[in-house]
Amino acid sequence: MNTVYAIVVLGVLGALFGLVLAVASKVFEVKKDPREEAVLSHLAGANCGGCGYPGCAGCAAAIVAGNAPVNACAPAGAENAAAIAAIMGLEAPSGERQVAFVRCNGGTNAKKRFDYVGVKDCMAATKVAAGPLDCSFGCLGFGTCVSACQFGAMSIGPNGAAVVDPDKCTACMACANACPRHLIVSVPASKKVHVACANQDKGKAAMSVCASSCIGCGLCQKECKKDAIHVVNGVAVIDYDKCVGCKLCTKVCPRDAILPAATAEEKEKYKAIKKAQAEKAAAAKKAAEEAAAKAAEPAGTAQ
């Protein structure tokens, strides 16, 4: 009999508390913005912190509150940004997918001032006499950006400088924030030609510290048919709105600082083509001059 009492009493108690909690959840209901949850479902959900808010929920709250742009979550991509914009009643932001790019291809080509044997961390290495590289702009290659990347898109390339795998990159830019040399920038994913050097020194100064540095010679600027590459502060910079990816600049760069670097063969070929073109142009000019002279002659006799 006692057992039955126990079951009944606890059952009733449990049901009673359950009822009270159910009523309380209605009475004390706090109205949460339903958009917050809808926005959250369109975020990447990696809690990477790339947006600068604590986790995806924090980012969703900030977007709903209007403190963050609808495309604050870079890893979610343009589709989700458009969906969030629809939830928020805003226009979808235009612009294509961005990826990170490391503006240095020095690595083993860069001259070392000393052998750094401390903690394998770029930040720590820069603290020792401003880093082991002669170049004060170059990638140190200790991989602080690699460990900052949550998506496995960063690695130290074969020549010792960091490289980004554009297929895995979500442009969260956590690597850019981790890099003590501020070498990592976001570039449009469809563009394939990039200047892989950030050295602002000119001519000899840049040449002496690294075998693949941009010396600011301006050959690429002269060669570009689209006015898309300019030497700014001693280093070539591509205007991605204008660049069509013809790679002419890579073929004239004497330092192989523009990626993808052209091979010597390609360069020779391009030189030959240019020479032929120049000869042709000179010949055409000569012919035109002769024709003009001939045309002037009969006019002279008539007089």
């Binding site: 009493v9 606890l10 108690l13 449990g14 508390f17 909690l21 309380a24 004390f28 209901e29 706090v30």
Partner: protein
């Protein structure tokens, strides 16, 4: 007068001589887990005090008016766990609605208290010591204050431990447990306390 003396004795006992953490070893989990910073330790201590006071009152009522008349004293533990779990849930909802600032201040610690054995401990000890209603509530609140005192002292010591020069393999929990042990020894000094 005697009532007041009695309550004073319970108060001093719960805070100092029979401190829940240092002499009864209840609630050690939050004591070690949430004591890295004084701010969070204060939040946890206040939340525990709050819940212990309320839980003492309700479990005493449940025990006296439901379990004892039906001769179900042996079901105390199960019934009290039920009471405490729903109580914490209820308080959480209530605070979220009516006192959002307190709710955000207590934050994650409120739901954590559901599994704090000091709360269940105070409910069972009230019955064991055959306290009446007022004594139970006073014991609950002062027991919570004892927890608050212990966790805040411990957190402030742990903050200073960062600068202490102890062997590296003692880092983290080992040094925290040694500290807690030494504090428990110090609190043993209160066990001779007597109320006239």
């Amino acid at each position: 007068m005697e009532q007041i003396t009695n309550l004073l004795a319970i108060t001093l006992g719960a805070i100092l001589a029979n401190n829940f953490i240092f002499s009864q070893f209840l609630g050690i989990c939050p004591f070690l887990g949430v004591s890295k910073k004084v701010d969070t330790a204060v939040g946890m201590g206040v939340a525990v005090t709050f819940v212990m006071g309320l839980a003492s009152a309700i479990t005493w009522l449940v025990n006296t008016f439901i379990l004892i008349p039906l001769d179900l004293g042996y079901m105390q533990t199960v019934a009290f766990i039920l009471v405490i779990a729903s109580l914490v849930q209820f308080i959480e909802m209530f605070l979220q609605k009516s006192m959002p600032t307190l709710y955000t201040a207590l934050g994650v610690y409120l739901p954590l208290i559901t599994t704090n054995c000091a709360v269940l401990g105070v409910a069972l000890l009230n019955i064991q010591n055959s306290y009446n209603f007022i004594e139970s509530v006073v014991y609950g609140i002062t027991g919570g204050l004892g927890f608050l005192l212990a966790i805040v002292l411990f957190a402030s010591i742990r903050e200073r431990l960062v600068f202490a020069d102890y062997p590296k393999n003692w880092d983290g929990f080992p040094i925290a447990l040694v500290t807690a042990g030494l504090m428990a020894l110090a609190f043993m000094g209160f066990s001779g306390l007597k109320i006239w």
